[in-house]
């Protein structure tokens, strides 16, 4: 009986395992990008709510952030997938559950909503870093409150928060691996699947590591370009 582990790197491209990984990468990219669109739009909205002059909006925004930020993502995912549909009662529950690919949709939405809470906090921090003078200057030119945010504060704040958002964008790809636990066939799932079928877990996991690394580097590069394109002298970058 052989005791030494024999490496067989061909499990990363051999048929059908190479196809597994490609499918996994595609799902990971889709989840990350769609999740990110949700996270960014919802996050900026909630971050803005948190600094609005109306108390109820501030409260709602704060509640959202605290609920989503303080519960582990895996638990949220389980909750939305298994318990979520039960909230609506028996008949609607069965209708929701009969959607094909439900786990995939739930994972994207949960990923977006979880990351939104973090984006909201960065947005709020970005807003807070803009001095009161800008607000007053905007209002004094005759802009209404929403207009002030739309034309002055948000464009400013969004630029400032690009570096922290890069981290969140990276994290959404990494967090998408947790979707494996509800059976989404993404990169990590596929690498585990290759392991269970070939017993070459070291190779398949290394493959998954390299894939995430490549995705991460691509995101960093992309955000770097965005950052240098949009920078305003005197705020970030030199």
């Amino acid at each position: 009986m052989g005791l030494a582990y024999e490496f067989d790197w061909s499990v990363l491209w051999r048929n059908p395992y190479g196809m597994y990984l490609l499918q996994g990468i595609w799902v990971t990219i889709k989840m990350g990008l769609i999740g990110w669109i949700i996270a960014l739009s919802l996050g900026v909205l909630i971050g803005t709510m948190r600094i609005s002059p109306w108390r109820w909006l501030r409260f709602l925004g704060g509640a959202y952030v605290e609920v989503f930020r303080n519960i582990p993502f895996m638990v949220q995912l389980f909750f939305w997938y298994y318990a979520g549909p039960m909230i609506f009662g028996k008949s609607i529950q069965y209708q929701i559950n009969s959607i094909i690919g439900l786990n995939y949709y739930v994972a994207i939405i949960a990923l977006g909503m979880y990351t939104a809470s973090r984006v909201a906090e960065h947005t709020r921090a970005g807003f807070s870093s803009i001095s009161r003078d800008h607000h007053q200057a905007a209002l004094s030119t005759g802009l209404t409150h929403p207009q002030m945010y739309r034309y002055v504060i948000i464009p400013y704040a969004l630029r400032i928060i690009i570096p922290p958002l890069t981290t969140e964008f990276l994290t959404i790809f990494k967090n998408s691996s947790i979707a494996m636990t509800i059976g989404v066939l993404e990169t990590t799932f596929m690498s585990y699947k290759i392991d269970s079928e070939t017993f070459h877990g070291l190779e398949s996991t290394t493959g998954a590591c390299l894939i995430y690394l490549a995705l991460g580097l691509a995101v960093v590069k992309l955000m770097g370009i965005l950052e240098s394109r949009l920078k305003i002298r005197g705020t970030i970058g030199r």
Partner: protein, 299 residues
């Protein structure tokens, strides 16, 4: 350099010595000499071999079969043979039998050709079936009914692999295959209507069903999509002990003791109720080769 040669020589010499010792050791002779049989038993293979938390001892169907084997061995040697239990796991059970740490493994090991190359298997005494758990009023009656249904399975199980392979081979085309992480989650998915049928071993499904608040609302389907035959393991090339195990199994079927033990652990009132299929009943009858009345007597 010379030092290495000497070392290598000693090493190889030692290995051959070990090997020859292992081969010369006839299991039956040693049982006779020591008055003990070393049995490999599982700790968590319900209902075949597991530790009963109340008494802290190994119990189960295969453990009862061990008692029967030892009873016959005692009669064979004309003296009391004692059981020396060893705990084995799915990872250690084959090496422990192959390297003669245990004389016989009495658990729930799937008989495969790959394993047969390293150890000897007794007769198959049980078939674990890959089948489906469905709601009581489910329309799924045979394998064709799986077409267009949503099937569930746990990640990394042989059961899920069996479904995927059969779908790839075109035996049926489900609407979707939903993968879950654990069996309880699979049952939850079935309860919530995420899947129409959840698949794993029949024994595990029956275990899940029995733990549900209303077991009568669920059932396992009558058909199976794959079988895993269980056998007991002895060391390669020790045919006397293997014959003895086989004789014990056949004798227990003939005398009805097999069914008593089955009902005790897997009957309607057993730990995990697993109904015996017609095919299984027939199989048990068919393997009963003619036996002398006192087959255990020493010639």
């Amino acid at each position: 350099m010379k030092k290495y040669f000497i070392f290598a020589f000693c090493f190889i010499f030692a290995m051959t010595l070990l090997g020859s010792v292992a081969l010369a050791d006839e299991t039956m002779d040693r049982i006779n000499k020591t008055g003990k049989i070393r049995v490999g038993l599982r700790e968590g293979s319900i209902p075949f071999a597991f530790i009963d938390p109340k008494v802290g001892k190994h119990v189960g169907f295969s453990v009862d079969m061990t008692y029967l084997l030892v009873e016959k061995l005692s009669q064979h040697f004309g003296k009391k043979i004692k059981i020396q239990p060893f705990t084995v796991t799915p990872k250690t059970r084959i090496p422990m039998v192959a390297n003669a740490t245990v004389d016989v493994e009495m658990g729930s090991t799937t008989y495969t050709q790959k394993r047969e190359e390293v150890v000897d298997f007794s007769y198959i005494f049980f078939f674990s079936e890959t089948t489906f758990l469905v709601p009581k009023d489910s329309p799924i009656k045979n394998i064709k009914d799986l077409n267009g249904k949503r099937l569930g399975g746990a990640r990394g199980t042989t059961n899920l692999k069996a479904i995927e392979d059969q779908v790839a081979a075109g035996r049926y085309t489900p609407k979707a295959i939903v993968v879950v992480e654990t069996h309880p989650q699979g049952f939850l998915a079935l309860k919530g209507g995420k899947v129409d049928a959840y698949s794993t071993d029949r024994s595990l499904l029956e275990g899940l069903r029995m733990k549900a608040p209303h077991p009568e609302n669920w059932k396992t389907v009558d058909f199976a999509i794959a079988y895993e035959p269980y056998g007991y393991m002895c060391r390669e090339g020790n045919s006397d002990i293997r014959d003895f195990v086989n004789n014990t199994i056949v004798w227990s079927i003939k005398t009805g003791k097999f069914y008593e033990m089955y009902d005790k652990w897997m009957g309607p009132k057993g730990v995990v109720p697993i109904p015996r299929s017609k095919a299984y009943e027939d199989y048990l009858q068919l393997i009963c080769y003619p036996q002398a009345k006192d087959w255990w007597k020493k010639k």
